[in-house]
Symmetry: none
Subunit: 417 residues, 2 copies
C-alpha cells in the first residue's frame, strides 16, 4: 500500500517572528498519524504572496495532502485567499452558504455584519466550502491535479473543530489509508521514567507492528499503542490482550483509556455516585472548582466552594478553629482536615475537598518549603488527608495539587482508598 | 540596505509526528528579529537523508542564513552530520578541541567516554567548531557559497546557550544588519474586525517601513507595529508618535503594551490601589479567582471567594435574598448586585466581584439563552453591573465572562468607569 503523505503549512509573520506559539501543527501531526497519514514536512511562511506561492508549489510536488492554517482573519494583513486564487488560477466570489453562516454568526450576537466580515464569505470559485460553526472564517477544500489542499483558520479551537468534524473524515474517504488502531492507557500520579521501568519487559516484547509512545503532561503520562496492519478486528484483539497483560502492573495509576479526559472521568464517577460535592481551596485559589465546573452538567453534583486565602475566611466561612491555625498554621494536616469537614457540613454536601499549601514563589520556610501542600477528601464517614511535596513553579504547584486532590477523590469514589 | 534573511530547519521525526513540542523555532524567530534578521521560512523534516538534502538546497536558494537544530544526538546515527558532509562534499574527522571538550564533559561527571560519545567529536572538515559548554554535541558553522549554515543541538537550553554566547554575536559581525523596532498595543473587549474598522484610516496611512499585524486571542487583540530602518532612536520616536495618534480612537480598549499580560496588569493596579478584593462566582465556577491567584503575590490583595452554584449557597454564604432569587432568578441584575455586595461586605474587602450566567450547553431558555451572563463590580460607594451576550461554548463563555469582569474592574481601578 502506498504511504499517503501530508505537508502542513502555517502562514503568518507572527509565527515566523516568534510572537505567537504555534500549537496547531503539533496537534495536526498527531491527528494525521492517527488516521495513517505520514507528515513529511512542516513549513511556516510569512504573509508574503511570493513565499506562499512558492511553498504551495513545493508542497504539491512532495505531498498528497497539503494542510494550510492561518492567514484567514478579516483584517488587511491576510492574503491567503487571494494567493490561493492566483495559485489555482481562479477568483473570489461570495459563497451564498458562507454568507448566510457569517450573517447568522453576527446576528446571534446582536451585531451588524460589516463589509470586512462580509468578505469572509468570499471564496475561490474552485473551493469546496467547509462550514465553520465556531468562527467566521470558513474552511476550504481544493482537489487540484491529484493533490488535496485544505485551508483552515489559524485560531486553534476553530481549526481543531473543522479538522475533527470535517477534514479528517473527508481525508479517510478520499484516500486509501492503512488500517491503524490506537489504544491509549491514561495514567496519573507516576513519572515517565518510573512507569518505563515498571513496564520495560512488556515493552521489549511488543511485536514489531505495534509501537509504544510515552506522552507525558503535567502529573500524567499517556501510553499509546499504535498497531498497523490490515484487519481492524485483529489489531483490536491484539492490543486489548496487551493492555490486559500490563494492567496488573500499573492498575493503581490508570484512570482511563483513549479520549477519556481526567476531569470527565471524575465527573462521570460523581454523577454515577448520586452524591454532591463542595471544595475549600487555599493554595489552588479556585482551580479545583474550575476543573470541576468546566464540565457540562457539573451543577448536578457541584454545589459550590470557598476560596479562603485569608485566615479569617477559613475561620468565619469554613469554621476552622482559631486555635488550630495558631498552633499548626494554615498549611497543616489539622487545618486541612477542618477545612474539608467545614465545607462539607456548611454546604451540606456528601464530599468536601480541601487544599492548603505554599504555591510559591514566596512564602516558603525551612520547615515548609515552597511546594508543601496538604489535600483532603472528607465524607460523612471519614476524612482522608495527604501531604504533597511538589517542586515546581507556582503554576505547576497549583495544577498538580488540584490533579492529585481529584485523583484522591477518584480513588475514594472507586473505594480504592 | 539589503534585508538579511534566515531560514530555520528542525530535523526529527518526533516533531513531524507531533510527539514533542517544538519551542526552539519560536525562540529563534524572536532572537533573529531582535538583531534585524528576517526569518522567511521555518521547515521541519524527518530523520531522512533525501529530505534533509532537499531542504538544505531549498534554504540555500532563499536565505542568507540557515539555522539547523536537532538530529545531533548520540542515538540518531548522526544523520545530520553525515548528510551535511554529503551536502558540502566533505567528510567527518575527529576535531581535537571537540574531543577534549566531550572528554572533559564526561570526566567531570565521573563517567567513561564511550565510542558513541567519542563520535560526537567528529565534525565535517569544513566546519568551524563552536564549543557547547552545556552538552556533548558541538555547534558547527559553515560559510558555503555565500550562505552561512549553522548546525545546533535540539536540546533547548543547549541551543539557546550556543545562540546567545556564540551564534548571534557572530551573525552580527558577519552581516550588515538593519535596525528593527517592535511596539505592541494590547486591547481587550473589541473584536478584530471592529478594531480594524476603527483604525482603517490610520492603518492605510502607515509609512511603508512600518507594518501592522493583528494578533487575536480569546477576547483580546494585539496590534503589533514593526518598524525597520537605520536608527533605533528614530524608529522608537516614530512608532511612539503613531501610537499616540491612534490612542484617542482605541483608548477604552487598551490595557497594556508589549509584554504586559492582562492578569498582570490587573494585579499591578490592585497592588497599587492598596485595596482588597473578593469574588462571588456562579457561572465562572472559580475561574475568576484562578486568574487572580495564579499571579505571584496575589495574597496581598485577594482575600477569598465563594463559588455559589447552588441557590442556597447564594442565600446563606452571600446573603442574596430568597425573594430576589424567586422573583428575578439567579441570572439577573438584581441577583448579581446582591452577590457582589454580599461577598464584599461578608469578606470585608474593598472590591466585590460577581458573575452569574448560563455557560451552557444546557440551562438556556428563550428569554435567557446560553451565553447570557451578568457581571458586577461592587465598591463601598457603588455597584456596577453589566449584561453580556456571549455566543461561545461553555469554555469560551467561562473565559470571556472572567476577562470582561476583570476588564470592568480595571476600568473602575483607573476611574474610567
Amino acid at each position: 500500500m502506498k504511504v499517503v503523505t501530508a505537508e502542513v503549512i502555517t502562514i503568518g509573520d507572527e509565527i515566523l517572528f516568534g510572537q505567537i506559539t504555534d500549537t496547531n501543527t503539533q496537534w495536526m501531526g498527531v491527528e494525521l498519524s492517527l488516521i495513517g497519514v505520514k507528515t513529511i514536512r512542516k513549513s511556516s511562511v510569512g504573509d508574503v504572496r511570493e513565499e506562499i506561492l512558492r511553498v504551495l508549489k513545493e508542497a504539491q510536488e512532495r505531498a498528497d495532502i497539503v494542510l494550510i492554517t492561518g492567514g484567514l482573519g478579516p483584517t488587511k494583513d491576510d492574503i491567503t485567499k487571494h494567493t490561493l486564487c492566483e495559485y489555482f488560477g481562479t477568483s473570489l466570489a461570495i459563497h451564498p452558504d458562507a454568507l448566510e453562516a457569517v450573517d447568522t454568526f453576527f446576528r446571534k450576537r446582536g451585531r451588524e455584519l460589516s463589509d470586512i466580515n462580509r468578505q469572509q464569505a468570499a471564496l475561490p470559485l474552485n473551493a469546496t466550502y467547509i462550514p465553520n460553526t465556531r468562527g467566521t472564517a470558513p474552511g476550504m477544500w481544493f482537489d487540484h491535479e491529484g493533490t488535496v489542499f485544505v485551508s483552515l483558520p489559524g485560531v486553534p479551537f476553530e481549526m481543531k473543530g473543522l479538522m475533527t468534524d470535517e477534514i479528517l473524515p473527508r481525508l479517510k474517504q478520499r484516500f486509501t489509508l492503512p488500517v491503524i488502531h490506537h489504544r491509549v492507557i491514561r495514567t496519573v500520579g507516576i513519572g515517565e521514567s518510573f512507569l518505563a521501568e515498571k513496564i520495560a519487559a512488556w515493552e521489549d516484547a511488543l511485536p514489531p507492528h505495534i509501537r509504544l509512545a510515552y506522552l507525558p503532561s503535567m502529573g500524567m503520562v499517556k501510553l499509546r499503542l499504535t498497531a498497523t496492519g490490515t484487519s481492524l478486528a485483529a489489531l483490536k484483539e491484539e492490543t486489548e490482550q496487551l493492555v490486559q497483560d500490563i494492567l496488573p502492573v500499573i492498575q493503581p495509576f490508570v484512570f482511563g483509556y483513549d479520549g477519556e479526559e481526567f476531569e470527565e472521568v471524575i465527573a462521570a464517577l460523581l454523577k454515577a455516585s448520586g452524591q454532591t460535592i463542595s471544595a475549600a481551596e487555599s493554595c489552588t485559589g479556585g482551580y479545583v472548582a474550575h476543573l470541576l465546573t468546566k464540565i457540562p452538567g457539573s451543577s448536578a453534583y457541584f454545589q459550590g466552594g470557598v476560596i479562603s486565602y485569608a485566615n479569617e475566611i477559613k475561620e468565619q466561612t469554613l469554621g476552622v478553629r482559631p486555635e488550630t491555625l495558631a498552633k499548626y498554621g494554615a498549611v497543616s494536616e489539622e487545618t486541612i482536615r477542618e477545612m474539608a469537614e467545614g465545607i462539607r457540613t456548611r454546604f451540606h454536601t456528601w464530599f468536601g475537598l480541601a487544599t492548603s499549601g505554599i504555591a510559591g514563589p514566596d512564602g516558603g520556610t525551612p520547615e515548609k518549603p515552597v511546594g508543601t501542600v496538604w489535600i483532603a477528601v472528607s465524607t460523612p464517614e471519614r476524612t482522608l488527608t495527604r501531604k504533597l511535596t511538589l517542586g515546581g513553579d507556582r503554576q505547576q504547584n497549583i495544577h498538580l495539587s488540584a490533579i492529585y486532590l481529584l485523583n484522591l477523590l477518584r480513588k475514594v469514589l472507586l473505594q480504592e482508598e
